[in-house]
């Protein structure tokens, strides 16, 4: 079947098997390997992408289900050379180690900040509670999101 969607601002159309998961569509069909796959049961959240601005576990969505929608992956977070404040925050506060959960965590953080620009620790923890990180123990991820909240402008990050 044919699917058409906007991925990181560009429209893509592909013929796919109806059963193709969104995560495999992004990784294997489009070559966007920043989105990871970590479990089969929608528990780990390494596969989180934004669909119309909302975090979605792409291992539990069919590519067909997102046809006609806007998908944003980690590759679409930075604006050219300028990092999203969330990306900068993860580097500033050591919010990542192996990097595998990081794309999903950052996209969830971006969605949180878009609806709540100044979240407190409890709100951040709740927002990322559908995702697992095995390396950081989460405290530095919380700090990273707080850093991004405190440095909202891309220009400030550049400077």
């Amino acid at each position: 079947m044919q699917v058409t969607m906007t991925v990181n601002g560009a429209e893509v159309t592909r013929d796919v098997e109806p059963r193709l998961l969104l995560v495999h569509f992004l990784r294997d069909t489009l070559g966007l390997t920043g989105t990871h796959w970590g479990c089969d049961t929608s528990n780990c959240g390494t596969c989180v992408v934004l669909v119309d601005g909302v975090p979605v576990k792409s291992c539990t969505a069919l590519a067909a289900m997102t046809s006609g929608h806007e998908v944003r992956t980690v590759e679409g977070l930075a604006d050219g050379a300028a990092l999203d404040p969330v990306q900068q925050g993860f580097m500033e506060e050591h919010g990542l180690q192996c990097g595998f959960c990081t794309p999903g965590m950052m996209l969830t953080a971006r969605a949180l900040l878009d609806r709540n620009p100044d979240p407190d620790e409890a709100e951040i923890r709740e927002a990322i509670s559908g995702q697992i990180c095995r390396c950081t123990g989460y405290a530095t991820i919380v700090r990273a999101v707080r850093w991004a909240a405190a440095h909202p402008a891309t220009e400030e990050v550049r400077a």
């Binding site: 479990c39 990306q87 050591h94 180690q97 192996c98 923890r125 390396c135 530095t140």
Partner: protein, 797 residues
């Protein structure tokens, strides 16, 4: 709050403010990860690549009657179906394990655990490969399984390993350390003896990236390029050469970015070998990535130690001796990754941080119908189990004596003047200063105030617990006179090159899985040579581009390869001195070193920087006799001893009286890993380990039913802490350098995973103490805590 790690006031510090050497700097590897440009095994695509999938046994113990692959082979997208019979023809059906046992690559005679590999399909894409698994028809003749390790040695227990000649039982090994007679004598005369069975249940490292491989065999020149999720690329290459008969110089193992390892990615799994076989059979690259259930059900688990511990003490709280007998469940094949002479790893450091008169441990390993493994999950070769046992037992003793558990520990620590300290099982602790670390943790926690709060809450019937633990690790394996894995000495290499323009590259045999090696090893070189970390490239994870060594596990990267890098850098520095002397027309002994530069004694303006010397070395400077024209050096480091990091942890929990749910309210961790290379990365390592500890203490569990069905086979059942289950960590540190390590560093990667579970369980038991509870086994799930509160038998989970 007594504060935490120092962080610079200005996070946007300029390059001039950043340390050239040790200190907090951002990680060099981060820019690619935050852009989604990490390169993990499953991200790699080769032209013509096929996909493999493994058919696994649904039962724990059965005779394999037949495997019919006819229908699968007829699938239009299937290129090959490989069975155990096919592998027998290649002499590859069985492979050696890291403990000198053998493991079935694909089952031929029997299946011995649920999830064991039975057949391998190679197909056009990953979906088709999975489809074809459904078309394979396997007939099993079920056999009674051995699930409970306590029954494994019963007379008449089914013999799991009847593939081994002459095998009539499920016994793997007996091993002991310490002096049994001396220990028994101390126990016989002791005023107080407490005993407790302590179970460290089976858990799983469960890195976020599962295991996988991409094999690319070139039939024309006979070379194999193997991309693998491995923590030990060189060891894997050597073992592949031994197993598969491919000459070692024709094998290139590449371990790209690794999405977490924690010991899960040390062993050679059947899937890796099958990807290679698949590539040889089809003539095309073959990728195999396991799914989460395969990872949890078949790859290296951790722990599964049933420990009966005893402590002898005086009524005043002087600990005299410790003894234990352990039943170790090794699963269906003895595949643990540990030094050859240590079948129970470094468990014999169960004497902990205390000055004892005697100690003895005996460990019996048994086969069961469960997945193989045992040494994984940041365990420092079983130090985890050892620390958990002694730290739980000290609390049992404290309860018996009616003493405060922190005070009991303080009374029994090895004193600073006793180091280097030889314990009763033969370890030589290199350095330690325990009391200041303990007092710092108690102060940070506000221990006395917490006890007052607890007393008030207890008076109101509320359940609040305060748990203390103090650990000493033994890491950095290891000295070649004592340690090897399958005959390979546990040393690691480093190669340093300073390029003509003064930039440098350092090549490592160890392999990061998130620990930040690209940053910390650059910092070691920067500290030694004064070259800024951003001017240093760290190369690792590719056997063609790095020196030989045994890889990263057991917190050995900094203790072993860190030593290699420092010593190689010092060789470069010495060479630079000779060349600088030639350039300055003076004698080497007349030169003084300041970071990054040799200068003439008494005339600091007359000097040459490392960059100038590098250009001179590669240029036209007339070189002194015996000095060749480069600034390169290499070292294979054989550590003289292991290193002994330590730490003091305090955990505060609240237990819901109505549900038995445990909430970790606070966690204070004071660690001492000797010299600190990058405080930010150290803090990150500690944080991650603390979350592991909370997970194991409260949630994580690989259980089995009586038929051997795995009850922790997905993240629906194997519960890992999220941000909601862990608190904000409070960390601190003391610094007691290792006297024998070139930079005094001890390693930090596993400290918190080792030290935190007893703190959490001690806190839970402390909370339940008013109800008469003296001990409970992990994981302290609501159902188990509730049962303990009611004085009922422990439910399975």
């Amino acid at each position: 709050m007594t504060a935490v790690e120092h962080r610079p006031a200005n996070p946007a510090a300029t390059s001039a403010d950043r340390p050239i050497g040790f200190g907090r700097i951002q990680r060099k590897e981060d820019p690619r990860f935050v852009r989604g440009k990490g390169r993990y095994v499953d991200d790699i695509v080769l032209p013509g690549m096929l996909h493999g999938a493994i058919l696994r046994s649904p039962v724990a113990h059965a005779r394999l009657v037949s495997v019919d692959t006819t229908e699968a082979l007829a699938h239009p997208k299937v290129h090959a179906v490989i069975t155990g019979r096919d592998l027998e023809g290649l002499n590859l059906a069985w492979a050696p394990t890291l403990s000198a046992d053998v493991q079935a690559v694909l089952a031929t005679d029997k299946v011995r655990f649920q999830g064991q590999e039975v057949a391998f399909v190679v197909a056009e894409d990953r979906y088709a490969a999975r489809d074809a698994l459904e078309l394979i028809d396997v007939e099993y003749e079920e056999l009674p399984p051995v699930i409970d390790a306590r029954r494994a040695l019963d007379p008449g227990a089914p013999v799991i390993r009847d593939d081994l000649a002459g095998r009539t039982d499920n016994h793997v090994f007996d091993w002991e350390a310490g002096d049994a007679a001396e220990t028994d004598a101390v126990f016989a005369a002791a005023e107080v003896v407490v005993a407790q069975e302590v179970v460290y249940p089976r858990v799983h490292p469960a890195p976020m990236e599962t295991c996988g491989a991409l094999a690319d065999y070139d039939p024309v020149d006979g070379t194999l390029t193997l991309y693998e999720t491995t923590q030990a690329p060189h060891a894997h290459r050597t073992l592949f050469a031994m197993v598969a008969g491919i000459p070692e110089h024709k094998i290139r193992v590449i371990s790209p970015d690794i999405g977490g390892g924690f010991g899960n990615k040390v062993g050679i799994y059947p899937g890796y070998i099958l990807a290679v076989v698949g590539s040889i059979v089809t003539g095309r690259p073959v990728k195999w990535m396991e799914d989460r259930s395969e990872n949890l059900m078949s790859t290296s688990f951790a722990r599964d130690y049933i420990m009966r511990g005893e402590i002898a003490a005086t009524r005043e709280g002087r600990i005299l001796a410790v003894r234990t007998h352990v039943l170790a469940d090794h699963g269906a094949f003895n595949a643990t990754a540990q030094p050859t002479k240590y079948p129970a790893g470094f468990f014999s450091i169960f004497t902990g941080s205390y000055d004892l008169q005697a100690a003895h441990c005996a460990v019996t390993g048994v086969y069961t119908n469960k997945a193989p493994g045992g040494v994984a999950y940041a365990c420092s070769f079983r130090v985890t189990e050892a620390v958990y046992l002694v730290e739980r037992m000290v609390d049992v003793l404290a309860a018996e004596l009616g003493m405060d558990p922190a005070e009991l520990r303080l009374r029994n620590f090895i004193r600073p003047e006793q180091f280097p300290y030889r314990n009763k099982t033969g370890w030589e602790y290199d350095s330690g200063d325990y009391e200041p670390a303990m007092r710092k943790a108690l102060e940070m926690a506000g221990y006395d105030e917490l006890r007052r709060e607890q007393a008030e809450k207890r008076a109101r019937g509320e359940l609040m617990g305060i748990g203390v633990s103090f650990f000493t690790e033994t890491v950095g394996a290891g000295p070649r006179k004592h340690m090897d894995i399958l005959g390979l000495g546990m040393n690691d290499g480093a190669e340093v090159r300073v390029h003509p323009t003064g930039k440098a590259v350092v090549r490592l045999s160890v392999q990061t899985q998130g620990q930040g090696h690209e940053t910390t090893f650059a910092q070691i070189l920067a500290e030694e040579l004064g070259i800024p970390p951003e001017d240093i490239d760290v190369v690792h994870g590719d056997t063609d581009r790095t020196p030989f060594g045994l890889g990263t596990y057991g917190s050995r990267s900094t203790p072993v390869s860190g030593g290699a890098v420092a010593l190689a850098a010092r060789k470069v520095r010495d060479k630079a001195r000779a060349i600088a002397a030639a350039m300055l027309e003076t004698r080497p002994e007349d030169l003084e070193w300041e970071k990054g530069r040799w200068y003439v004694q008494g005339d600091p303006s007359a000097g040459r920087t490392i960059a100038e010397i590098a250009l001179g070395a590669h240029g036209t400077v007339a070189l002194p006799e015996g000095v060749d024209g480069n600034l390169d050096a290499e070292v294979t480091y054989d550590p003289p001893n292991l290193t002994f990091p330590f730490g003091a942890y305090v955990c505060v929990v609240d237990v819901d009286r109505g549900t038995g749910k445990v909430r970790v309210r606070r966690f204070v961790a004071v660690d001492d890993c000797g010299t600190r290379i990058n405080p930010m990365i150290i803090e990150g390592q500690v944080h991650g380990g603390l979350a592991d500890g909370v997970g194991m203490a409260l949630m994580e569990f690989i259980g089995f039913d009586e038929q051997g069905n795995c009850l922790g086979g997905s993240f629906m059942d194997y519960l890992i802490p999220t941000a909601m289950e862990v608190p904000d960590w409070e960390t601190g540190h003391t610094v007691t350098p290792s006297p024998h390590h070139p930079i005094g560093a001890k390693g930090i990667g596993e400290s918190a995973t080792v030290g935190s579970p007893p703190a959490v369980v001690n806190a839970v038991v402390d909370a339940l103490a008013p109800l008469g509870v003296r001990h409970m086994d992990m994981p302290c799930t609501p159902a188990r805590v509730w049962a303990a509160m009611q004085g009922r038998a422990t439910p399975p989970i």
